[in-house]
């Protein structure tokens, strides 16, 4: 019987009673969270990397703690902790400053959680990339009278991109896959809706394979864009064999 449903392609139809539409909406959710979390993580990462490289000793140690903890604790545990404690703590803080509680949507919480995890990873990637920029390039900028902010925006950041892009693109692929972990907190992204669909129809193999194909497609499409971005960022660099 399960063998029948395994080849029952009708279950994947976009319109109900097919579950294709549900899966696609789940995928959309996953992509939204991945994009949001990635962008938030990148912003954290830029601050983190500069904090770690140029901050005072205390800031540097705090950043070190942040990246160490995130890199030592499984994402799944972090996601649980942040999902429950993070929003709780945020509301506590808001309460203290007297703004009152805010209603944190699952989407926002998901973005926050993925963002915090990604933030630590991209801190490390960006820090490595900034350190790879030849010191002379930054020195030259200073020698011609650029202010520290100008040095950062005009030279350091653009010059480190080629070194950062491979790492950052891997992080993007990781972000898309980490959204699956939000299934354990009941957020209806692709993996959870897949499980619901599979549970409701008992066509496990079909739905898990379908979801796998969607994730894979997302990865492959991302790879195409990554290639383009990489090529663009490496203009000005002699190709290394």
């Amino acid at each position: 019987m399960a063998v029948d449903s395994f080849i029952n392609w009708g279950l994947l139809a976009l319109e109900p009673p097919g579950w294709g539409g549900v899966l696609l909406r789940g995928l959309l959710n996953s992509i939204q969270i991945a994009i949001g979390g990635y962008a938030f993580g990148l912003a954290l990462g830029v601050c983190g990397a500069f904090g770690k490289l140029y901050g005072g000793p205390i800031l540097r140690d705090l950043m070190e703690c942040y990246t160490t903890i995130v890199r030592a604790v499984p994402e799944l545990v972090l996601i649980l902790l942040l999902y429950y404690a993070g929003t709780d703590a945020l509301n506590h803080v808001l309460n203290l400053v007297g703004i009152g509680t805010v209603d944190i949507s699952g989407l926002a919480a998901g973005i926050f959680v993925i963002g915090v995890v990604q933030g630590a990873y991209s801190t490390e990637v960006l820090r490595g990339a900034i350190k790879a920029v030849p010191a002379g390039q930054i020195e030259a900028a200073r020698a011609y009278g650029m202010s520290p902010f100008k040095v950062m925006t005009r030279v350091t950041l653009p010059a480190m991109l080629p070194y950062a892009i491979p790492g950052l693109s891997n992080l993007w692929l990781i972000a898309t896959k980490d959204t699956a972990l939000l299934a354990v907190v009941g957020f209806s992204e692709l993996t959870l809706v897949t499980r619901q669909a599979a549970g409701a129809t008992k066509a496990y193999v079909l739905f898990f394979c379908a979801a796998g194909a969607l994730y894979l497609a997302l990865t492959l499409v991302s790879n195409v864009f990554i290639k383009i971005i990489e090529r663009h960022s490496r203009r000005g660099f002699v190709e290394q064999a």
Binding site: I69, A72, V77, Y121, E124, G128, K177, A198, C209
Partner: protein, 279 residues
Amino acid sequence: MTDATPPDVTTHAMAILPEDLPTAGSFFKPHRIVLLLIAAALVFCVVWFMRWDWLPQYLPRLGHGIVVTLAMLFSTSILGFLLAVPLGLVQVTGPWPLKTLASGFCTIIRGTPLLLQLWLLYYGLGSLFPQFPAIRHSFLWPYLRESWPYGVAALTISFAAYEGEVMRGAFAGVPSGELEAARAYGMSRWTLFRRIWLPRAIHRALPTLNGETVLQLKATPLVATITVIDVYAVISKVRQDTYITYEPLLLLALIYMCLTGILVVAFRHLENRIPTRGA
């Protein structure tokens, strides 16, 4: 003559590595004492004001859970690595059908979430097995009934795919001169592989292997979602039994930090055994 390949940037960004450990000498600085005091106060608050009365009752189970986690980690890393070597090798020298197969395998596994692979194996494949009486009555059934074989399989496959990529790079990166020297002294292909190419590739890949193993540790809690009782599952149970939200999770984070720390220190020892010069 630097030969220490830096670990893959992403692995480094995601996993603590031996080089991240502070040395005792560089660690103590004036402001650190203040930070340590604040941290100590924080820990004190956590211990004092939060609920820990459940802990003694669950200690034996936690111990058991840690053993399961470590068993998962070591068995899947070793099995995965054994698979990764041929996966990497055929991508470097194999005939094209094998090459395509291996790189396709790596792409697919690396392109989909581990959680999904785990569920596909356990709920998908696992629910197909009982429909075949031949399987149901074979000697394998007592194992196929359990959930841990599926966890081991999924983690092994995933590790093999990630490590296969690493080994591909490592095999390709062994300087051709060293292989040529081996050939010039009359080594057969198998001796060359066993004595020079493989150890040299592992030597090169060691920093990345370290990182990937830490990542593998971080992936193990996923098996709790298919009813394997690892340390994560024990903590879930504590939470569900007691309805305490944060304390068990904090303890869990601490446990994983300790496990990671131990792993990293072990790797530092391993790395120091074969010195490499340079950056």
